[in-house]
Symmetry: C2
């Protein structure tokens, strides 16, 4: 196996591998270190030809600023942490993508942590992440351990809880009511005239709340004994298939409601493999990113709750909150969600 070329070459030029510091740049540019720092971060404070000299020195030396040192001195890390249950097949993917795009554009870097739907794990991650002194923390959900809440509440860094609502946010919240979502869906389906329902969910807390609320609302309309299959999180296509398979043993419902789009995809696959016509034999409803789902099923129905849209819009709202960091009051921006259903009218 060949030796690493570049590394060996660099050995031939002794000491040039030693990392270049701001002081080296200053020496080359013929100015004080502080002037280099200013030229780099607040160029409007130095004369333009000084700035030019510095820029050239930076290029000549191959200087890369050390943000650990900078952060330590200034207590600003330009780092935002995002904590999510999971990234695979995730209902959060779009939110995260948009959020990261915005943060990157604003010069922030993103530390990602995966909690696997465990608040204990979230606590550990928060603990560890706090050590990096992030300039902001985004948490999925509003349910956390006591320790997490305590740590985050007493700190002075902005915290945004997303994808849920609560009366006592740690700091800011952008989300919607999963209970309201479930109830809204139930009413929509009843209006459509469906009689026999089936519900499939993974055991993530928010998905379960949506589904339970749905079932309650159905019950209050006289539709009881709704089959309810719960699968292990995270949502997979296979989960959707299995859910439908199990459910179908006790007769096929007219409409199957899923806790997420991924599950709904799986139900579609299973239906196809059983020769069931969608929506002729069974209608299927998902939950998640409308911007994707709406395109996939051209004739789908959409159920709306509240005022904006999950995904990009929510992320935009979130960024706006970060921008208005000065405002230290509690804030709750409501986030809307979309549902996709392949139902009778879209046949």
């Amino acid at each position: 196996m060949a030796k690493k070329i570049a590394r060996n070459q660099s050995v031939a030029i002794p000491e040039q591998t030693e990392s270049v510091t701001l002081i080296d740049v200053a020496r080359v540019a013929g100015v004080a270190p502080m002037t280099v720092s200013r030229a780099l971060h607040r160029p409007e404070l130095v004369r333009s030809d000084t700035a030019r000299k510095v820029r050239e020195a930076v290029r000549a030396t191959g200087y890369v600023p050390n943000m650990l040192a900078g952060g330590l001195a200034s207590s600003k890390s330009r780092l935002v942490a995002i904590l999510l249950p999971t990234i695979a097949n995730s209902i959060f993917a779009d939110t995260v993508q948009a959020l990261m795009d915005g943060l990157t554009a604003s010069g922030y870097q993103t530390l990602l942590g995966l909690t696997g739907y465990s608040t204990a794990r979230e606590e550990e991650l928060v603990e560890a992440i706090l050590g990096r002194r992030p300039d902001g923390i985004v948490l999925a959900g509003t349910s956390h351990t006591e320790a997490t809440i305590k740590r985050l509440t007493k700190g002075k860094i902005p915290v945004v809880e997303i994808w849920d609502l609560t009366d006592k946010p740690i700091d800011m919240v952008i989300g919607f009511s999963h209970e309201q979502v479930g109830a809204e869906v139930a009413r929509h389906l009843i209006r459509k005239g469906y009689q026999r329902f089936g519900v499939i969910s993974v055991d993530d807390p928010r998905g379960l709340r949506r589904c339970r609320s749905l079932i309650n609302e159905l019950a209050s309309h006289g539709k009881t004994n709704v089959p309810f299959e719960v699968l292990q999180a995270p949502a997979t296509l296979q989960g959707g298939r299995e859910g439908l398979s199990r459910m179908i043993t006790s007769g096929c419902p007219e409409v199957v409601v899923c806790s997420s789009d991924t599950l709904a995809q799986g139900v579609l696959a299973e239906a196809a493999s059983r020769g069931l016509n969608v929506p002729g034999d069974v209608a299927v409803m998902g939950f998640g990113d409308l911007s994707t789902a709406a395109h996939v099923y051209p004739a789908l129905s959409t159920v709306r709750v509240d005022g904006a849209t999950i995904g990009k819009n929510a992320a935009a709202a979130l960024l706006a909150r970060f921008a208005a960091e000065a405002d230290k009051d509690q804030v709750a921006v409501r986030m809307d969600t979309g549902f996709s259903i392949i139902d009778r009218e879209s046949a």
Copy 2:
């Protein structure tokens, strides 16, 4: 809007908000700062009752170590950066999840960067990320700008390029040949007896290479003029639908090969909505995470290339490389991939 409760309360206890340092902990524990540092990071170096005193002091003070300071002093950041094209519907999701799980378990935190398939953007991100002095960098792909390569080559931090192969890796590579993948698939399908093919890809570089190689190999078996639809990255279900729609105008192929599983899902959806039987009327082939796909299509065929498996196994290999950081030779671990196809035998 209510004032933030906790923040106001903490105002009542002046100065306690000022961040606790290691020196404070040392004072409370009645030891030297260095001893606190040791007790925290290398407890085996201090007497157990000293460690206990320190632990109590940490709890009493609510101390959170400042990793910026620690990193600066030790030049170890316990940070690993991962750069990917995208996170949404991503073929990388599983790799990333497994990788992060492993890294987190080993005490590393993960900085995520999204390049959107742009090497220029990758370059900017690398530049910025290097400022954080990560202990390792993972890059998707082996195609980078000159500047990126230069920066990464001369640095002393481990770099792992994944999901592709190359003769001149920056440091380490874990991947497979996309050309070989394409050719292998072509031969597999020809062995199966298919005559009329269709190919749908998004315009991501690796997907295109797989598809082009497939088409070349088909040509060398006398199958020319294979319909080839290219859609804009990233892959979406809608893209798959559109791809099949366009393709079908010039007659339905016996088998449609897609550059990713997401696209294949879309093709399935479109086929269903057109009343096409899969695999009776048209077989569909995806590419990506076998562990998911294999479960979804129980009777699928599998095509293998090389030796391991994309996803969790690849991530494990990757972590092993990090662990063996001492070995500074070039390394190329080959990574195998799986294909899923719903074809005639699985009818």
